[in-house]
């Protein structure tokens, strides 16, 4: 018989809140990380003074000070814009960027009240396709922002940025499919569990080893999807002539970046879960640790001990990957628009397709013989 359990409902709500909290906090922290890393690469200091109560704290108070400043800036709605969409356009990246955090696999599962609680707020049958679905909705934020500003340069900038995002979504989807053959499922938790095994005696069974080309294509498309350098023509146009961000003032402008950083965070979590083993430590899988801890403290407590371990491992891997994003931002020059579209359609799409076919044939040979 089927019974509604409040434990599951409350745990889903708690996991949702965890996702929202982490997704909303990525933007301020990443803005500080970017400015400090940019400064260190450029041999200067960066923001390292703003702290609390005479403690410098490495300048971590800077994002808070920025947020307070942005709240108090004059936020006028220009009279010539289309008001409804001008107000709604920054909300689209924020809403989709936060909504996509529900699919993050924080850990394996815990046992509460004799029930197994999967540490993933939403575990749909369609697995990680949810992340692709919500990220394809994020295109509308840019398009609406460009159109509603009633400024033909903004419109052009918005259309170009959305054409860029849309071009790389094809390669993004096609590059992930080899992983679905290899792991045999669309579900992120199953994939991570399979990656905790040992391959050929000494290597962790990571997706990166099975499908390295997929990894490289996927990383490039993530850069393009989240408008990060070297693909950030949309934002740079805001510096140069105009772009979809021209008519946007203080807090609305920062809402775009809140959504962008949150989406970047979730894409990095997806990369780590697909290619680098997610919340599992490379050779000490959670299964192995459970077998060690089980005779001593019992299974329930062992799982509660493994929960923060999983979250810390996941966050460490994601932070490393996002730090690489930041490094790339200040190392590689920006692409021109036609170079960008050429890369997306003429190079990445055939590479992803050929990779798919070859991986399918190799996987079939390995599995069926």
């Amino acid at each position: 018989m089927i019974e509604i359990s409040f434990t599951q409902i409350i745990s889903t709500i708690l996991l949702m809140l965890l996702g929202i909290a982490v997704g909303a906090q990525v933007a301020p922290i990443m803005s500080w990380v970017e400015r400090r890393q940019c400064a260190i690469i450029q041999r200067r200091l960066g923001p390292n003074r703003v702290g609390f109560f005479q403690f410098r704290l490495l300048g971590l108070g800077q994002p808070i000070a920025d947020a307070i400043k942005l709240l108090f800036k004059e936020d006028f709605v220009p009279p010539y814009v289309h008001k409804a969409f001008y107000v709604l356009a920054p909300v689209v990246p924020v809403a989709t960027g936060l909504a996509v955090t529900v699919a993050i696999p924080w850990g394996s599962h815990v046992v509460v009240n004799n029930q197994i609680i999967n540490l993933q707020a939403v575990n749909l049958n369609s697995g990680f396709l949810l992340i692709f679905a919500l990220s394809s909705l994020a295109v509308y934020g840019v398009t609406l922002a460009g159109w509603s500003s009633n400024n033909k340069y903004s419109l052009l900038g918005g259309l170009r940025a959305s054409a860029q995002m849309v071009s790389y979504e094809v390669a993004m989807g096609l590059s992930i499919i080899p992983l679905v053959f290899i792991w045999g499922t669309l579900d992120l938790q199953t994939m991570i569990t399979k990656q905790s095994e040992i391959l050929w005696g000494f290597l962790p069974n990571w997706g990166f080893i099975h499908a390295p080309i997929s990894f490289f294509v996927f990383i490039v498309t993530i850069f393009a999807e989240t408008n990060r350098l070297p693909f950030d023509l949309a934002e740079s146009e805001g510096e140069l002539v105009a772009g979809f961000l021209t008519e946007y003032g203080a807090m609305r402008w920062s809402l775009f970046f809140l959504g962008e950083y949150s989406m970047m965070f979730v894409m990095c979590v997806l990369t780590v879960s697909l290619f680098f083993g997610g919340y599992e430590l490379p050779w000490l899988s959670q299964h192995y640790l459970l077998e060690i801890l089980n005779p001593q403290v019992g299974e329930v407590l062992a799982r509660w001990i493994l929960l923060p371990l999983g979250i810390i491992v996941l966050l460490t891997k994601v932070i490393l990957l996002m730090w690489i994003f930041v490094q790339v931002r200040f190392t590689i020059p920006r692409f021109r628009y036609d170079q960008l579209m050429k890369l997306g359609w003429i190079y990445l799409l055939p590479i992803a397709l050929i990779n798919l076919i070859i991986t399918a044939i190799v996987t079939a040979i390995v599995k069926f013989h």
Binding site: I2, Q8, E74, T96, Q115, V122, V241, W345
Partner: protein
């Protein structure tokens, strides 16, 4: 199966809907707070359309390139292909070599289309 209990939580689509509504409220709220807290000093140069500080030259002569439309149409078609790929890859074990041949025909037909697109130069300079 008479005595075992199957526990269900909330419908998995509900958290997505709730966070979308929450994101909407957060975005509108944050923009609204700034509207209340900030000063209000309109002047004429702020109220004009921004074109690098120069006065607005042309207003309605908007003829944009057809390549945006072409890019979007090609995106739909390749996205549909991607959807079928997702579908095939989940039942890869069940479909075996037969499935690979079927999907191979599908990809081959679409590759003909893709090569046609490349030869016609529809995706160039965009």
């Amino acid at each position: 199966m008479e005595q075992s209990v199957y526990y269900v939580g909330m419908n998995p689509y509900l958290p997505i809907l709730l966070i979308l509504i929450f994101g909407l409220a957060l975005g509108l709220g944050v923009s609204g707070v700034s509207l209340f807290l900030g000063p209000k000093k309109p002047n004429s140069s702020k109220l004009e359309v921004y074109e690098c500080g120069l006065p607005v030259t042309s207003s309605a002569e908007n003829r944009f390139s057809i390549k945006f439309y072409l890019t979007a149409i090609l995106f739909i078609l390749f996205d549909i292909e991607t959807i079928f790929m997702y579908l095939w890859s989940t039942a890869f074990d069940y479909l075996g070599w037969f499935g690979i041949v079927e999907v191979g025909i599908f990809i081959a037909t679409l590759s003909i289309g893709y090569i046609y697109v490349l030869k016609r130069g529809a995706l160039r300079w965009d």
